[in-house]
């Protein structure tokens, strides 16, 4: 089981290229590793500046080949279910000509210089559905370079032309003389030869792994209870803590009576912070019981009376004034003035929680001279910096161990949980695992923002759109999370899916007004821009088709001549879904098509609306063109997953504030789609060799308008606000 070999490499134990004697500059560098292996240090393009500037070569990832022939890859991306621990190794194994089973994985330690993500501003982050996009070229190149060098030294040993040799299953073969030699026997020689400046990547028709369904490497340990998530770590002597944070964001802890809590068997300590209180105990049962026994008085602070209506009201107001111009094609005002028909609408999407199955947790041991952190996090470099700052220690005194993640969806792109755990651990003698209850997890999440949208469109006499205007207001995650990427009032995330429509529109004008809600933190989710904008734009496109009295699929297809890949996925999804075939009363089909995360995707949802307004998604057909597919089974799995995630949001997802407090608390009030509600899902993958697109999030945004458009088809009711209001769908008996 490969998962057994996944280890967490601490900063201190991490061997940098300089420490292992590598200092030559270049795209790839080779050298002898401690223990006699071949190390290939891989420098992704964005880190080139650092590598050139410093005398120390700073690679982004390491490939290590051990004498056993085993390939060890330090994974710069974290595994949270998306299959990256299989698809990333596939890229290397393909070019290196080794079996996937020979690849062993290590979590990368925090180090932004080495493991920063070129597609997320150099931050060491796993997000934005871009791991394959970022790794596609450089990791194959790394594998090919190692293969070329191993063949070269084998050929030299045999005194034959390298061109007469080939690599296969971890060996170099010389077919004319039927000789073979294992990689492990070539390492010492391979480490001594210069790294070739250019290597030949395999032809796509020769791929053995890429494009074939591969068994995931991380799953065997996940079916027998041995996989270790952050919440499962148990450093010797660890205590368990759980906490109550101010129920109103920005509030303060006023007073705590802990008499009863201290009397609970197993409770060891009460930790008071400015805005939270934690109970430290021998086990979570005692910690929870102790927490329930506390008598806590809060000072609710400035947001004591805040409610969601106020926040949405501010957003709505903001859309009455101009925002930053995010897109401007043609002259939308002029085209609108001469349009035969005008369509106007406003839309609204709510705050959403992440509700990862693994509740927030972080284990910390603060000592006088150092701090150790055990966590599952999508931004490890930031976690280390935050822990150091909170503990008041230099960065090099903080060791962070990363772990498998029980659901990320953007929640673990934040380090609030690490900060909180270190704050508590500073008061505790020994390691402490801080575990959020589900209620704390949901009520102190950082939420997908609410947005308010105002749209108008002009149609010509034939019903075709000639003008499209869209203005929306809401939070920018990027402005807080990666300020350099927020420019002129705009960021690439918040506007994705609004400014880059697949349709050929003669005029398109999009404005965005950044409005940060008070008293509620916002963060990334399973997409922010697309999960909001695709719902709005694909619903509105459906409104235009209806205004033009045209079929929603035909109407869209007519606008997609300039984006043939979008047109193809739409046509394929419609065909496979049986678009146009009759359906029973109360059942409707809805469609959506999108181009986000560099992936084209169309979905058709079949939705039943019963007389009492209950909505059931019966069947979803998805056609996807994500360019080159690395692991098709993972693509299918991600789409199935994203569709369920999106239906959950469409039907149930909503975080509301009343008197400054989040009203939802656990899975009874923040519902998640269940097995008995899950639709049949069909995924059709378009095969091509275009560069790979992102897969983790694309399916989520597409399903939401497909569902609401299907509800419109079934009932004639257009839903412009999420989640679906079933009361509004009730039919008179």
């Amino acid at each position: 089981m490969i998962i057994d070999h996944i280890t967490s490499r601490s900063t201190g134990a991490h061997r940098s290229s300089s420490e292992s004697g590598l200092s030559r500059r270049g795209f790839l560098q080779a050298g002898a590793a401690a223990g006699g292996g071949l190390v290939l240090s891989l420098n992704l393009p964005f880190a080139a500046g650092d590598a050139e500037a410093a005398d120390v070569f700073a690679p982004n990832a390491f490939i290590r080949i051990e004498p056993s022939g085993q390939i060890v890859l330090t994974m710069p991306y974290v595994e949270m279910g998306q299959g990256t621990y299989t698809s990333i190794p596939m890229l290397i194994a393909e070019e290196l000509e080794v079996d996937l089973k020979q690849v062993r994985l290590e979590h990368a330690p925090p180090n932004e210089k080495l493991y920063g993500n070129p597609l997320i501003g150099g931050i060491q982050a796993t997000g934005n559905s871009n791991a394959i996009r970022a790794a596609w070229q450089p990791l194959r190149q790394a594998g090919a370079t190692a293969r070329t060098m191993l063949i070269a030294v084998a050929a030299k040993r045999w005194k034959v032309d390298p061109a007469t040799c080939r690599a296969q299953s971890g060996e170099v073969l010389h077919p004319p003389t039927r000789r073979s030699i294992k990689y492990g026997e070539l390492l010492v020689d391979a480490a001594r030869i210069p790294v070739p400046k250019s290597v030949v990547l395999k032809r796509r028709e020769d791929f053995k792994l890429i494009g074939m369904p591969a068994k995931r490497l991380d799953t065997p340990a996940k079916v027998n209870g041995t996989a270790v998530y952050g919440i499962d770590v148990r450093p010797p002597g660890v205590k368990i803590a759980t906490l109550a944070q101010s129920p109103v964001f920005g509030g303060r802890l006023k007073n705590v009576d802990d008499t009863a809590a201290k009397a609970v068997k197993g409770v060891r300590q009460i930790v008071r912070l400015d805005d939270a209180v934690a109970v430290v105990a021998d086990h979570m049962g005692a910690a929870k019981k102790g927490l329930a026994a506390l008598v806590i008085e809060w000072d609710d602070g400035p947001h004591a009376k805040l409610n969601t209506q106020e926040i949405v009201g501010e957003l709505e107001k903001a859309t009455l004034n101009p925002g930053a111009v995010a897109q401007n094609i043609g002259d939308a005002d002029k085209a609108m003035a001469s349009a035969a028909t005008k369509v106007e609408a406003t839309y609204q999407v709510p705050f959403l929680a992440h509700a990862t199955m693994e509740p927030m947790n972080c284990t910390v041991h603060v000592r006088k001279d150092g701090c150790e952190v055990w966590v599952g996090n999508q931004v490890l470099g930031r976690a280390q910096v935050a822990a150091a700052k909170t503990a008041g220690l230099p960065l090099d005194k903080v060791v962070v161990h990363n772990h498998l993640i029980g659901g990320g969806f953007g929640r673990r792109l934040e380090i609030d949980g690490v900060v909180r755990a270190v704050e508590i651990a500073k008061h505790v003698d020994g390691p402490v695992k801080v575990v959020w209850t589900r209620e704390e997890d949901i009520q102190h999440d950082m939420y997908r923002p609410t947005f308010f949208d105002r749209l108008s469109a002009g149609l010509d006499e034939k019903g075709a759109p000639v003008a499209w205007k869209h203005r929306f207001a809401g939070s920018s995650i990027i402005a807080r999370w990666a300020p350099p990427l927020f420019n002129n009032g705009l960021d690439p995330d918040t506007t994705e899916g609004a400014i880059d429509l697949a349709y050929a529109l003669p005029s398109l004008h999009v404005e965005y007004a950044r409005v940060e809600p008070p008293g509620i933190p916002t963060a990334f989710w399973r997409s922010v821009g697309p999960s909001h904008n695709v719902f709005v734009t694909e619903s509105f496109m459906d409104e235009l088709a209806a205004a033009a009295k045209q079929d929603p699929v035909a109407y869209r297809l007519a606008l997609l001549d300039k984006t043939p890949r979008a047109k193809a996925v739409l046509a394929l999804a419609a065909e496979k879904a049986g678009w146009g075939q009759p359906l029973p009363q109360g059942v409707g089909r809805g469609v959506s098509v999108q181009f986000v995360f560099a992936t084209y995707l169309a979905q058709v949802a079949e939705v039943e609306v019963s007389k009492d307004g209950a909505v059931r998604v019966q069947r979803v057909v998805c056609a996807v063109d994500c360019g080159t597919v690395v692991n098709p089974d993972t693509v299918r799995a991600q789409i199935q997953s994203a569709i369920i995630f999106g239906i959950t949001a469409a039907l149930y997802g909503e975080i509301t504030l009343k008197d400054g407090r989040v009203e939802q608390a656990n899975f009874d009030t923040y519902q998640i789609l269940r097995m008995n509600e899950a639709p049949a899902i069909e995924v059709h993958i378009v095969q091509n060799f275009e560069p790979p697109g992102g897969m983790g999030e694309a399916g989520t945004s597409a399903i939401v308008p497909a569902v609401t458009n299907a509800i419109y088809a079934a009932t004639g009711k257009r839903l412009r606000k999420l989640p679906v209001d079933t009361a509004a769908l009730k039919r008179p008996v």
Binding site: N224, G225, G285, I681
Partner: protein
């Protein structure tokens, strides 16, 4: 007061309050972390174990209610015929994504199969709808249960 419970065939002595949920005894006292915490209110099924073969939410099961019952967890379920079949089907069908809920899913599925070797779609929905999967692996869970039900070989 010390209590003895039987977990995966082994007697374990523990000393916690009688109202302590079994989940925390397994995870924090006995160090058996395969059983997961999800909600603490029997709403998500992540903590599912078997008590005398019956799928049980350990997060709301007080330790004092166990008595002489046999507790089986994900760590030992592979030793049962139904458990081995289900685990194999889970891997064959590539059910797992983040995997956090899957211990509970598997425990619910094994209990279903052990009591109903050939479940219908509706039986599967009834038995599995108490287990939430945020990665949305439901389609594959259903397929995997059907595969396991069809495999006659002991241990799949």
């Amino acid at each position: 007061m010390a209590t003895i419970i039987k977990v995966n065939g082994v007697n374990r002595t523990i000393d916690v309050d009688g109202d302590t949920p079994l989940l925390w005894v397994l995870r924090d006292v006995l160090g058996m972390t395969g059983t997961k915490f999800g909600c603490g209110m029997a709403l998500c099924g992540a903590c599912t174990v078997h008590v005398d073969g019956v799928a049980t939410r350990s997060c709301i099961t007080p330790i004092e209610s166990i008595g002489a019952s046999q507790i089986t967890t994900i760590e030992a379920i592979g030793a049962t015929a139904a458990g081995a079949k289900i685990q194999k089907a889970w891997l064959d069908r590539e059910v797992v994504q983040c995997g956090y809920c899957q211990s509970g899913q598997i425990m619910s599925a094994v209990a279903l199969l052990a009591s109903n070797p050939h479940p219908t779609d509706s039986d599967i929905s009834d038995a599995m709808s108490g287990n939430i999967c945020r990665c949305g692996t439901y389609v594959r869970i259903r397929e995997a249960i059907k595969q396991a039900a069809q495999s006659d070989t002991r241990g799949g």
